[in-house]
Amino acid sequence: MATQQVSTRIDALPRTILHRPFFWIIALAIAAFVVAPTIGNDVQLRESLLLAAVYIILASNLNVMIGYAGYVNFGSIVFFGLGGYLCVWLVGRPGFPLAVAALAGGVVVSALALVFGFGVLRLRGAYFALATIGVNEGVQAFVMNFSPWGGAAGMYLSTELFAPLGGPRQALWTIYYLLVAVMGLSLYLSYGIKVSKFGLGLLAIGQNEDAAAVLGVPTRLYKALAYSATAFLPAIAGGLYYFKSAFIQPSDAFDLTFSTEAIAIVMLGGQGTIAGPAIGAFFYEELRGWLLTSDTFSHFQLVVAGALLLIIVLFLPRGLIGTAHARWPDLRRIIE
């Protein structure tokens, strides 16, 4: 039963990810994020893009659990918050410059996620979603009572800690570039997973978990790996973000609003696609920022944001990119 000679139809598929146009579109977007504010030393644009990058990181990692594996993680903010805490706590200790502290946060959080993941992922659907909320609340409760981390009052970061990075002005730029790097890694991670065997297994789980198991997909292992792998970069991002804010407290770090927004963004953009969460995050963040400072809308910006969400959910349930794919199938090859 040797496999037959592969037909031309298969050869038509790109040899490697480097040959796929979307790979280069992502690279272009990253370059834009780096170049645009740097050219004009435009600090305001940088602040705005930084928030967009954070949302993109959260949404594209979340997309792997929601859009591929079909598990809606309501409490995904716990990775961001716990990573933030670990980094803020470690930074300033000997041997822990910012990059190391943030990385350590990422490693610890994804290790914990692997352990917790095996347990939490025994549940499905709504039970899983509730359990993820429970994980977030549990971690928040722990931190609130953990005095080495400031308990409910939180931790403050001394401005001296910005000195190794060249003072606050330079540090804010460095942190921005680091976050853009994490954003790039997030996009490439979700892309790489999607075209890999691992991603195929996750997608199968998302379609029909039991059938996938019968087909040989090691569902328990894959789900836990996905949960853990997509905790890593958000944890690092949390570390960088809270370092920049110079202050972290449990009610902010574990605020479920963030993960709910991330879910909304994934839906808005188009779950299961790579471009979807990124585009959704970018527009959502820009819109919110604009509404906040606009003279006309700032008083009811929450209403506008909510209305927009409703419209998208009612009329574009596959999200922006998903709907575009359905309308123009050839678009799939370029914008994935």
Binding site: V6, G201, Q207, A211, G216
Partner: protein, 250 residues
Amino acid sequence: MTALLEIDGLGKSFGGLRAIDRLSFVVHEREILGLIGPNGAGKSTLFNLINGVFAPDQGSVRFGGVDITGAPPHRIAKYGIARAHQIVQPLEAMTVLENCTVGACFGSRNLSRRQAEAAAYEAATFVGLDDRLAIPAAHLNIAGKKRLELARALAAQARLLLLDEVLAGLNPTEVEYMIGVIRRIRERGIAILMIEHLMQAIMSLSNRVIVLNSGQKLAEGLPAEVANDPQVIEAYLGDPELARQLHGGS
């Protein structure tokens, strides 16, 4: 012929209901073993016990000499047993090719995605789905979906296929086509355990037939022997349509 699948003293209860009771039989390499019986006899339950959806209460399942009793479904697939379900389970949003690729990737051979795509293409062609490779599985008609079940199982390079009523719901032309495919599968050296209600198909395809009734083996032997066994006929009296079929009606 060498034994490939050995079922020995298998038993399973659900609450007070004895679904499978002291069941023993063998599937040999390269043979098609037909599995028939009235509704509720326990045929699909037997499949569930073989491919790990449930663990049996008593007895053992051996495959290629290895004890696989109670192993979880994804491990069973690695051993080389694949299943086509009675109620089709396509991975709806994925294309035909992607469906088969999943089977190939995670089946008995540990293939990379690229290698799996080649194997998937081959399996899809074998069942005649090569004209629909890029179509999402949800858009196939019932015949197509049935073929997809089969293709996925084939793509997994299994040594034993568990076919659960793959002919149900098909028109006569489709049935004939599928029978041809099943024959060609046996020619490739793959063993098949198939549940079927279409007597004409079972009788023409099977090397041997087993009859299940109320979880117990009622009869076992060549198709003609089984068809004329008085106990079998009596069991099917409870199902007049099937009784008619047994004797040449259809």
